[in-house]
Symmetry: C2
Subunit: 195 residues, 2 copies
DNA sequence: GCTAGATTTGAACGATCGTTCAAGACATAA
DNA sequence: TTATGTCTTGAACGATCGTTCAAATCTAGC
């Protein structure tokens, strides 16, 4: 990758961090200028305006999440174990690792209205991409014998996606108690495993 | 209630709608001035600044949610049936009735950072109030024989709260498919009922 | 070294933000 | 009617918003 392409990606990574942490409206272009160490003209020449930059940030975030999921699955002993570790990291480590503990796509869907219909649609699309990734891993778990032959992986992926949203949101509510969160995650995977 | 007190409450209701629909940052005081049909001086004299008004909106929202829950339980044949109907209304009707389909308190926790630590704390506090209400209803369900004697109502309330967060967030993702949502709710209450 | 094209700079624009406050409108009691 | 205290008005403030663009700087080919 060329140096210019590299710095381009670094800049997007910085913007993604900011948008993720503060949301779309609370992040100002001046915040981004400072984080990128770039002047407004350069940013607008490279990325377009705030909305275009946010869209790139959403995609960068999703690509990163997909890579994390694959890494978890590869590191774990089995597809289902990897999936569970991915969830644990997202929910428990969320408060420290991730800017707010929440998924950036869910934050976006929560914050934005039809006033930014394109960004809303992009976040929805990317969430379904991640859900599809879940389904693929679950399918592999099924093939590995971790799930019964009759399991509906698409439905389980939907359940897992919904559950992950709830877990991360609840984790941000709940001041103490990682054990409570772990118990909820255990319950979730017990239910998935039974199906 | 005096007429002045009534108009005061009406004004807060309007502000709550706006804040709920658009979030804290995207709602401007001028939006609120227009919705309330009041001039800035009056608003600042009556409610204080934007943050104080938002805090009142959070409380008004919560009081309304509590009333809805009690109404659902009263209308239904049993505590558990009322609880389920409350969830169904929140998740399925959410997209139409509620400004964004999401709980205002969860939206707040998702949007705000430590920059507004007091508002964040207030939203967290109110969410735990609602969770306590869930626990009370579940306790009544237990007493009515809808749950086993060994059920831990506090834990079930936590589970329900988390589940509701996930369901409402997922509902905003999912363009079509009320049936999918209904199925997820059925699953949730099947699990609660089994405990 | 010189020139032409691409890139970066940072001051500046108009709009809008949350908030203030002197001045006007209104209500109440004498 | 007049005086007095309360509430309302809307223009205005300084700050910050997303964005633009002429000028300065850098880069590459001859």
């Amino acid at each position: 990758m060329s140096a210019i392409k590299q710095s381009h990606q670094d800049a997007i990574r910085k913007a993604t961090e900011l948008f993720w942490a503060k949301g779309f409206h609370a992040t100002s272009m001046r915040n981004i200028q400072q984080a990128m160490d770039m002047r407004p003209g350069s940013i607008y020449a490279s990325f377009g305006g705030k909305e275009a930059l946010f869209k790139e940030a959403l995609n960068a975030y999703t690509a990163n999440s997909q890579a994390s999921l694959q890494a978890s699955v590869a590191a774990a002993g089995s597809p289902l174990a990897g999936l569970k570790q991915f969830v644990i990291d997202a929910v428990i480590g969320g408060a420290e690792n991730a800017p707010s503990g929440l998924c950036m796509l869910v934050k976006t869907i929560s914050e934005l209205t039809d006033e930014h219909a394109d960004l809303l649609a992009e976040a929805r699309r990317l969430l379904s991409v991640l859900e599809d990734d879940f389904a693929v891993v679950l399918q592999r778990a099924k093939e590995a014998g971790e799930l019964s032959e009759s399991s509906d992986c698409t439905r389980l992926a939907r359940y897992l996606q919904m559950q992950l949203m709830g877990l991360r949101a609840y984790a941000r509510t709940n001041a103490g108690g990682d054990e409570q969160l772990r118990a909820l995650i255990d319950d979730t995977f017990a239910i998935i495993g039974k199906s």
